[in-house]
Amino acid sequence: MMQGSISNRIRTLRFMNGEMSQAELGQRIGLTRQTIAAIEAGKYSPSLEAAFRIAQVFNVALGEVFQWDVKTNPLKAS
């Protein structure tokens, strides 16, 4: 199975959108402030629907918010 992790640019996008607060973003997409904080910190992966909603709030494509970072297996690489 491919190994990897999800990273995101929510903190940056919030900053670029007038320093939008986590609470405001959460309110606009129906999530709590704590859930937004957990997503930002990479400790919770949102549903696809929530991910699309976040992208819609910032008016960007989904790939500009979330990225899939592939982890290469050092044993296979060598």
Partner: protein, 143 residues
Amino acid sequence: MSYREKIAWLSLIAMAVAYGPYFGFVGRGPGSWEPLPHLHPLGLFAMVSIVRMLILGVGYLYLRLGSPREERQPLDERDRAIEHRSITAAYYVLMAGMILVGCFMPFSSAGWTIVNATIFWIVASEVVHYSVVVASYRVQASS
């Protein structure tokens, strides 16, 4: 700490305060309880349940008044996922306990021993439920 985590802590504390001494007492043995109609153990259990409800009632009130409204939002998808995970874990504990009580204990025990064992496994499953909730919120806490 989120409002739901505080509620989970409150539930854990209420159970520890109420059922801890109860199981400590009944765990020492059957004692000299009258055979029928079992008013003594029933009264003890009723008292414990009232203590638990009082702690929960006062605690809920305190948390509700002390938490800003924005913290008391409806469940979102992460809350529901945590709830689902915790209930699943509690379900397995409850099933294991009920199998033990229902299938094995009738061969070795009777009466209030079986009743208390049933109560114990119900409480144990609740403890697992709220512990998983607390642990999940702790793990996912950003700071």
